[in-house]
Amino acid sequence: MYAYDAFDHAFVRERANEFREQVARRIAGELTEDEFKPLRLMNGLYLQLHAYMLRVAIPYGTLSSRQMRRLAHIARRWDRGYGHFTTRQNIQFNWPKLVDTPDILDSLAEVEMHAIQTSGNCIRNVTADPFSGAAADEIEDSRVWAEIIRQWATLHPEFTFLPRKFKIAVTGAESDRTAVKFHDIGLRMRRNTEGETGFEVIVGGGQGRTPIVGTTIRAFLPKRHLLSYLEAVLRTYNLLGRRDNLYKARIKILLAETGVEAFTEAVEAEWERIRDGALTLPEEEIRRIEAHFAPPLLAAAGPDPAHVAAKLEHRDFAAWCRSNLFPHRVPGHAIVTISLKTPGGIPGDATAAQMDAVADLADRFSHGEIRVTHEQNLVLADVRETDLFALWQGLGEAGLASANIGLISDIIACPGLDYCNLANARAIPVAQRISRHFSDPALAEEIGPITLNISGCINACGHHHAGHIGILGVDKHGEEFYQITLGGAADDDAAVGRILGPSVPYDGVVEAIDTIIQTYRSIRETDERFIDTVRRTGINPFKEALYGDR
């Protein structure tokens, strides 16, 4: 993974010092809250319902065991002993004190971490494939490009006061695991007819009030032009994006209002002016960054009889292998997803002890590296098959061995009204109730692959639009109600979910989901996944089942 050099170290220290001064000016009264707010947001510090919330950047979701241990330390020392992994591969601490945040940033800087641009109207954490470097279907490691973009975007003098936040995702595999079409800019690595790799540039995807799948504005962009092209897009957005209405300020609105052709023309005109200039990426720079992401040397191995025997002897282990493993490009290895979705637990949360446990397991079994997925789980990407049983046992001791990746209890949920100032309804207890209801592993496995995403408000941080089942919390006359959508998808067949019918009360959600699942089980064809059934039958059978007699 990327390792800081002296330049990077100096930068985060200088940035932490700048924030320390800004906090001091705030406390001394030299800055009002209105003046301080944009400054603290640019260092990821929110003021939420109960307390401040600090969002620490985990660039493209990759961190070392040392960094994970530092996050555990921060949770213990300056927070309440836990953290929350987010749908943008970052981590949030819910209880820091303003006066402690400069110390927290200093502590992060020591391990090459920061909270730069995790909030505010600027370029946010660039997300990438959590299986980078390891997946069998990989074209190239998307994190190389996420790192290059991250550096270019850091304290960019022109793009720090954009009309709105800006989210970029990069994917480098055949299969998209980053929801690339739901970002302001999605970059999809492609091979052209000459065998060169470059980027398909997708613009204007997003969720929130106006969910929409992005549009390809350029089918193939050579790598060396990546930054100049992004600069052209951002400059066009900065100049033309709406400033009059917060809810219409994302680039997706600009694209829709200007039209794809006119927008693309404007971008390409600016790009013509600056391409081949100072932002052109020379080969040596690409190599320099690539070298940081060279995968560990792994010895291919044949099937391990001990592993097979362990599965026969321990059915729980076998179930975990079925749900939590993904094929690795090197035979005899696996990509392991660690579930942070214990049924009945809080999705995406980990205690300090659990973070330490994962760090230890990463050191023992995966070359000291951990990834965070946008589904709020963790990944150990390079585990030998022979080590899987020991790893599983270690996870079990830490309460992290739920065998539910990609199944119904693997729920994405935003913090919701329990924590967030913007929320209309709670999301976490809804997730807890649903996951508890479907906690029987055999039932979950029988239901099969399904995504269920919950957001506590229209800002959609829980990505409900992109869930096979989506749940959106709304406020109806002061009470919590939930609108259910079906048929959303975040993968290659990206789609926005469709509303089933009137919202249901908090106490009716579990029953509604149960009805939907029972309907699916009764009409599905052999081996048909939930989303495939919905695509085949449409939403009517489910609508009927849920609202039929109304």
Partner: protein, 200 residues
Amino acid sequence: MAIVKNGRVFDDPWQALDGRDPAGIDPATPLLVNLAELGAHGGTLDRFSRIGVSLLPADTVHDLGKTLERVELVAVTFPKFNDGRAFSQARLIREALGFKGEIRATGHILRDQLNFLRRGGVDAIEVPEGAPADSWAEAWTSEANRFKGYYQPALDNRKDETPARPSGPLRRWAKPAAVGSLAAGALAVHGASCAGAWAY
């Protein structure tokens, strides 16, 4: 109104036309007009020895066109600090149109934006009403010296000239800014000598 230019405080000699009839104004007055006024008064502004143009955030920089040859000052506006269009306008005026005169930021600016402005081609700011001009002048310089380097080329940095230092071709080392780096009286001079040394 006080101006801070390249770290020093000056009184602002410029007057905004502000809807008046240019015929009634002394042609020695440095006159600041907006795009609409520029279009409306056209040739009658030729009497004035010093002309400046003031842009609104929605104005298109490329509409300035050939006018810039005759203009000594461009003012870009921040109706609110978080309306960042002026950053791109300044960048384009400097980089795309090759303007060598003064680019001034006006309106609602935060001290914490000074470095971004400076890196974007802005060399002067109109000090917000009631704010202490001296401390803003100081901040212009001290903020420029906060970071030793930056991650992207902009309009103020120099390329790394020492191969031994850790770097990459996109990184730029910050030019150390000295207080009062602008020669005294330079505000009175036209054109090229107003420019900072734009190395990029």
